[in-house]
């Protein structure tokens, strides 16, 4: 599809060679300016067309400005429109000349033909020249009261244009008030929609500076406005429906009967052929039911079929947009989609960006009942001619293997991949086999036998090579040739470009040395010498560290470099659940496509209206000192700082998590690049043994299941005895802080507060006392309306003193009536039960 490369720089055929043509046009336009001769209009049209076509391809024809304006005194509407287009395009760069146009535009604004009035008003507002705004106010005001709805629509958007040229003029002329009045009373739905879009944008931009505007903005979300718009939903065009639905998704109903009324009213919008309407409707449904677990789940079931139909019906681009949203839902609640897996099989005609999404979805929905079929299907793709998809498919098989308990068949498949002898297949498979062995050491015999047959010469990719080297070091006692293969790799040390591979070589050969000293001694010497001379800092440091350690005491060295290993239980997700929740909050937006929250790709000034999550984000990042309720910022920074880059964050997370889970058995993994370069300020030992690369950190299985679902207690997989909280628990701040720093986040959730609760929350103390009544203690709190922050704790009544604590960070935003809650727990398996208690306590706030 891509056009040939060489043609790219050739000018398009219609492009004029120089300024000559523009000059000629100028002369011709001049001659025609005053002409009343028959046929002059036709000639003008031709010339105008030429000018516009030059403008389109990017040739500067602004020098014709005065001639174009001179010729514009015409009754020919086609000419007028071309002239408007031209003027709109160049007025900004020629503000002085733009003044020339004001006269005829203002005159046209009073034309008896409403269409001319509308067109002229639209062009007048599109000039984007600051010192001309005085000429806009009058026509705009008249336009908003015009008898014709077309003119009123144009004027409504015109007011927004004025705001962008000069906010103060727009506000001082009371246009927001006029727009609001028009929105609530105009009989024409198009006018209503235009008022709504203008108002939203103006109030959002203005809201950051003015209290009044921000109140007005909130009022758009009030019940009368929302119901007024909802009751007319069918009168709106499909695009305006999307606008209204978007607004409704931010509305917080005061009682649950409202939720069902709204959903019943919008039910038929799910059958719309326009995917934008359907997704906007789904967004409303998802947000309304977020705190009603069972209804929320019903919504998932209800929207499945319409989404799948949309995926199949539009162009591949449209289907990509819909599929991305389906992908998000599948990732949140894979269990609900586990019987739909066949819909996610790749089609021959799917573009690669669609196939990638489908592979991820297949990976997520795999469970005991469908794994065999999914893996069989994926294995077909592994032999695919499309290398990219083949690679992704192999990775998917590997991921499924890591999720499942019954991996027998999958391991066989992976080993078969190695026998295919395609270099990229081998490379991908080696990486997977390595991860698999770290989780299921019991498979080592089978795997090693096959991996032993892979010739290191056929493995080029650094990741694969590193994996192979790691296995050689780890299983050197079982692989006869291990020392010799390592030796030959060390011999070609200088040709090895990848520092990662060289680091692994150092570790592998050292481990091999502990097991088979006589055979490896020479190679170890060579590796240490090469490493010490290495230009790469990490490689050099690791070599030096090993060298000194070995010199100090070989048995200590062995304890550090090759301790007994703990099997990795679950590999951490690459994306934290907070980030996922934020993306979910931004359903039906580009965030879902990029799989990133909007703050990562949208400049602040362009963020949409009503983004509560942004406020919470600022609070959580601890950027403002007002919010630092704990003495130490460092604790927070470890997992709250959203400004950290993803990798940094994962590193922190990994460290904290590992530390808490493997106190007794320090877990060293060979692929750690952080081994020596870790922060010197913390104690070297801990850092060295727990530093894990992002992909290898550990977290609790329960987090994965419950948190992704976000569905609350209904989906709890392991039935646990009802949790009772200790009524006389104590925890001093220092211990709280230590625990908070050590424990991983067990779950993150958003809860809604009742309207009464929000109303009574004037200071943190109110909620604090309420929660105390439910045996949840507060250790620190802070903030002012609308944002509050609390740290709570509670203790399992059956736990011995000093254990069984639940720690909670709770961010409350009263304007959205939402609480964002993070729970950490000594016993992570109970955190879901605790969350239920916490939620019910929170829901009673203000009610009793």
């Amino acid at each position: 599809m891509a056009p040939p490369v060489q043609s790219q720089r050739l000018p398009p055929p219609s492009q004029p060679s120089g300024k000559g043509e523009v000059g000629e046009l100028k002369t011709q336009l001049r001659q025609l300016a005053g002409s009343r001769a028959p046929g002059a209009e036709d000639l003008k049209r031709e010339l105008y067309k030429k000018v516009i076509s030059y403008m389109t391809i990017g040739i500067d024809v602004s020098s014709l400005f005065s001639e174009m304006v001179m010729c514009s005194a015409t009754s020919d509407i086609v000419l007028k429109k071309m002239c408007y287009l031209y003027v709109g395009n160049y007025a900004k760069v020629h503000p002085d000349l733009a003044l020339l146009t004001i006269n005829f535009l203002q005159k046209d604004c009073q034309d008896e033909d409403p269409m001319i009035r509308g067109l002229a008003l639209r062009s007048l507002c599109s000039l984007r020249v600051k010192n001309l705004v005085e000429y806009l106010v009058g026509p705009l005001r008249t336009g908003l009261q015009d008898s014709n709805s077309y003119v009123r629509t144009v004027a409504a958007i015109g007011a927004l244009k004025l705001y962008h040229i000069s906010p103060s003029t727009c506000i001082d002329s009371d246009f927001p008030v006029a727009l609001k009045a028009l929105m609530m009373h105009d009989p024409d739905a198009k006018v209503v929609a235009s008022c709504l879009s203008s108002l939203q944008e103006i109030l959002t931009l203005e809201g950051s500076a003015s209290e009044e505007a921000s109140k007005e903005r909130e009022l758009l979300l009030s019940k009368p406005v929302i119901y007024f718009l909802l009751n007319r939903i069918r009168e709106f065009s499909e695009w305006a429906q999307c606008l209204v639905l978007d607004l409704v998704s931010k509305y917080v109903p005061s009682e649950s009967s409202e939720i069902f009324d709204i959903m019943n009213l919008l039910e038929d919008r799910l059958q719309h052929a326009n995917s934008a309407v359907v997704l906007a409707t789904i967004n409303v449904f998802l947000h309304l039911t977020i705190s009603m677990a069972d209804v929320h789940q019903q919504v998932y079931e209800r929207i499945k079929a319409p989404l799948l139909t949309l995926v199949g019906s539009g162009s591949s681009e449209q289907s990509y947009a819909v599929l991305s949203h389906l992908h998000l839902l599948v990732m949140r609640a894979p269990i609900l989609f586990s019987s739909d897996y066949k819909h996610f099989y790749c089609r021959y005609s799917d573009p690669s960006y669609v196939k990638k999404l489908k592979l991820e979805m297949l990976t997520a929905v795999a469970n005991e009942s469908n794994t065999y079929e999914i893996v069989t299907e994926l294995s077909e793709y592994a032999a695919n001619v499309d290398v990219l998809i083949a690679r992704e498919s192999i990775r998917a098989v590997g991921k499924i293997a890591l999720q499942q308990y019954d991996v027998n068949a999958i391991v066989d498949r992976l080993l078969q991949f190695l026998e295919m002898e395609k270099d990229y297949v081998t490379a991908e498979t080696l990486v997977l086999v390595k991860d698999l062995l770290r989780k299921y050491p019991q498979w080592s015999q089978d795997c090693i036998a096959v991996v032993g047959n892979v010739s290191s010469k056929n493995v080029e990719e650094p990741k694969a090579k590193a994996a192979l080297v790691w296995m050689l070091g780890e299983y050197s006692q079982d692989m006869l040739d291990a020392p010799y293969i390592l030796e030959s790799l060390i011999d070609s040390w200088d040709e090895e470009d990848s520092a990662e591979v060289r680091l692994h070589l150092l570790t592998a050969v050292t481990k091999c040395f502990f097991k088979r000293p006589p055979e490896t001694q020479k190679a170890l010497g060579a590796a240490l010498a090469a490493g010490l001379a290495d230009a790469h800092q990490d490689v050099h440091d690791r070599a030096l560290f090993y060298y000194r350690l070995l010199q100090h005491d070989v048995s200590v060295a062995e304890r550090v470099i090759n301790p007994p290993k703990q099997a990795v239980s679950v590999f951490a997700d690459t994306q934290s659940s907070e980030v996922k929740d934020r993306i979910f909050d931004e359903f039906n937006s580009l965030s879902v496509i990029y799989q990133e929250p909007s703050y990562m790709f949208i400049d602040k000034e362009h963020r949409g209206p009503f983004e509560f999550s942004e406020d919470i984000g600022a609070l959580a990042s601890g950027a403002s000192p007002d919010n630092s309720v704990l003495p130490s910022q460092r604790v927070e920074a470890s997992d709250n700082d959203l400004l950290l880059s993803a990798s940094e964050k994962e590193d922190n997370r990994g460290t904290a998590t590992n530390g808490s889970l493997s106190y007794s058995a320090p877990d060293y993994n060979g692929s750690s690049t952080a081994l020596v370069s870790h922060s010197p300020s913390s104690t070297v030992n801990t850092a060295a043994v727990s530093g894990a690369p992002p992909t290898a950190s550990i977290s609790q299985p329960i987090i994965e299941i419950d948190d992704l679902l976000g569905l609350g207690p209904v989906m709890t997989t392991t039935p646990t005895p009802a949790l009772k909280l200790n009524s006389k628990t104590v925890l001093d701040p220092a211990t709280f802080q230590r625990k908070w720093g050590q424990l991983p986040i067990a779950l993150t959730q958003d809860y809604s507060l009742t309207a009464q609760g929000v109303a009574s929350l004037t200071s943190p103390q109110v909620l604090l006392r309420h929660m105390q009544g439910h045996l949840i203690q507060c250790i620190a709190s802070g903030g002012q309306p609308p944002n509050f922050k609390f740290f709570f704790f509670a203790q399992n009544s059956e736990a011995p003193s000093g254990a069984g604590f639940f720690l909670v960070e709770c961010l409350v935003n009263t304007s959205s009536s939402k609480a964002h809650v993070k729970v950490k727990a000594d016993e992570a398996r109970l955190s879901q039960d605790f969350a239920v208690l916490f939620q019910s306590a929170l829901e009673k706030f203000g009610v009793s």
């Binding site: 269409m115 052929a273 199949g312 539009g314 162009s315 681009e317 991305s324 066949k342 002898e421 580009l590």
Partner: protein, 461 residues
């Protein structure tokens, strides 16, 4: 809301360019085109329809070889923008009759006129061809179709103006230009022909296992309408009486619940804004006042088992050192009154294949064979296949190395593309199309056409 809209040719030239909000720096079209063209270097990976460069989001759709692009700085609904782009393309097509680079270049002033009304300051206003009519003053300059549209005249059914039954094919032929005429242009003589077209277009996806067993199958269908009727008369469109929708309580892939033979069971469907479903539950009738121009009345999806139109047997065997043989056999499993056209089969061969010699069956006409060195692809094209017919291709392969492994693993799967006019894989039908008459003499032409395309027709070996 969007910031800019533009249409680029395949070479990256601006054909139309409209900046609505002036907040995206100049040169965005170039940045976009470069990014799309050089996406991920030589990986061959296609650029996704949506990406972000320096805080500017670019969303695009490809229509008729042209790139329709919108830029924005805000976190818009991607579905909305892509729908809008697609809809703009359709409105332009309604006006120009044919949408291609040539027609767009000739009519760019008209397109600007449209864009002015479709979007204001980045907010979509209206995309209704009908509403737009009163704002458009340029006359479209109609370009030559070049060739007949894919449906072709042979694919036509015509509904009798009097009765509801379908008249046999060929009794009345539709002029080939009818589908490509503008909704606004008058025909020679100044009179417009009163007619309405209804197309049932189905895209089928089937995957066969190596033993011929159907692994997955799905139909994505659309009932598309294009109306040239003046005065917006109401239309009633009747579908199969026993049509059933949704499979409550079952996974949509649960084949066991096959409800009564002959019954068409759709998994799900959606409808155009203008469709009223008052009688749909009762007698499967859709009522609508069709707006001008082309639009989908209904989209539907079906995973109920259906008879695949083609059966393909494929075989690859070693035939001595450095040699192998391929046999492909395709059989058309439909009535001999129907003819499939533009049939093509593709089969990836082992990467060490250097030469292929083909052997067609004796007397074969309209068939082409090719071996694409670059991606080692065997291609077999058949201009047409009559229902019931069977065709075979044999090919001898020469390898550059000895094959010490399983060559079936190194080749395939076979994939097939085709178009079958007058064929509906789902057996969904338009029973009748009734136009509420304004007068006794009002008898507009009504055309109903069926066509089935292969979306993904894959045979594993």
């Amino acid at each position: 809301m969007i910031s800019q809209f533009f249409v680029l040719s395949q070479r990256g030239d601006n054909i139309v360019f409209r900046d609505y909000r002036g907040e995206v720096p100049k040169g965005s079209a170039e940045i976009f085109f470069r990014k799309v063209k050089f996406w991920k270097g030589d990986d061959g990976e296609e650029a996704p329809p949506i990406f972000n460069v320096d805080g500017v989001n670019y969303l695009h759709v490809k229509v008729a070889g042209l790139l329709f692009v919108a830029t924005t700085r805000v976190n818009v609904s991607p579905a909305l923008v892509l729908e809008l782009l697609q809809r703009i393309a359709r409105v332009i097509k309604d006006y120009l009759g044919i949408l291609n680079e040539d027609s767009l270049r000739k009519n760019f002033v008209l397109v600007y006129e449209l864009l002015d009304e479709v979007i204001d300051f980045g907010y979509p206003q209206t995309t209704s061809t009908e509403v737009l009519k009163s704002f458009i003053f340029n006359e479209p300059i109609v370009v030559d179709a070049g060739r007949l549209p894919s449906l072709g005249p042979a694919s036509l059914f015509m509904l009798s103006p009097l009765g509801f039954e379908i008249i046999q094919q060929g009794s009345k032929r539709m002029p080939g230009t009818a589908v490509t005429k503008s909704v606004v242009a008058n025909e020679a003589g100044g009179r417009k022909r009163e007619e309405v077209f209804v197309d049932i277009i189905e895209k089928i996806s089937v995957t066969f296992s190596s033993s011929g067993y159907i692994l997955t199958s799905e139909i994505d269908g659309t009932i598309q309408m294009k109306s040239y009727l003046t005065g917006n008369p109401e239309i009633r469109l009747a579908l199969n009486e026993d049509l059933s929708i949704g499979r409550s309580g079952h996974s949509s892939y649960d084949y066991s619940s096959s409800a009564g033979a002959g019954m068409v069971v759709l998994d799900d469907c959606n409808f155009h804004e203008s469709v009223r479903l008052d009688n749909f539950d009762l007698d499967r009738t859709l009522t609508l006042v069709p707006p001008d121009g082309e639009f989908p009345v209904m989209n539907y999806r079906m995973t109920q088992e259906f008879k695949p139109p083609f059966r393909v047997n494929s075989l690859i065997e070693e035939a001595g050192a450095f040699k192998a043989e391929v046999m492909l056999k395709v059989r058309a499993d439909f009535s001999n009154t129907i003819t499939a056209n533009t049939v093509a089969l593709h089969m990836p061969l082992p990467k060490y294949t250097t030469r292929v010699s083909f052997e067609l069956e004796p007397g074969a006409t309209g068939q082409t064979t090719d071996f694409k060195e670059g991606n080692k692809m065997l291609e077999w094209g058949l201009r047409k296949i009559v229902g019931g017919a069977e065709h075979t291709l044999r090919a001898k392969l020469t390898f550059s190395q000895d094959t010490n492994m399983n060559i079936t693993k190194e080749s395939g799967p076979v994939s097939m593309t085709f178009t079958i006019p007058m064929y509906s894989a789902s057996r969904l039908q338009v029973r009748y199309l009734q136009i509420v008459k304004k007068s006794r003499t009002y008898n507009p032409y009504r055309w109903v056409r069926y066509v089935t395309h292969a979306n993904s027709y894959v045979i594993r070996i």
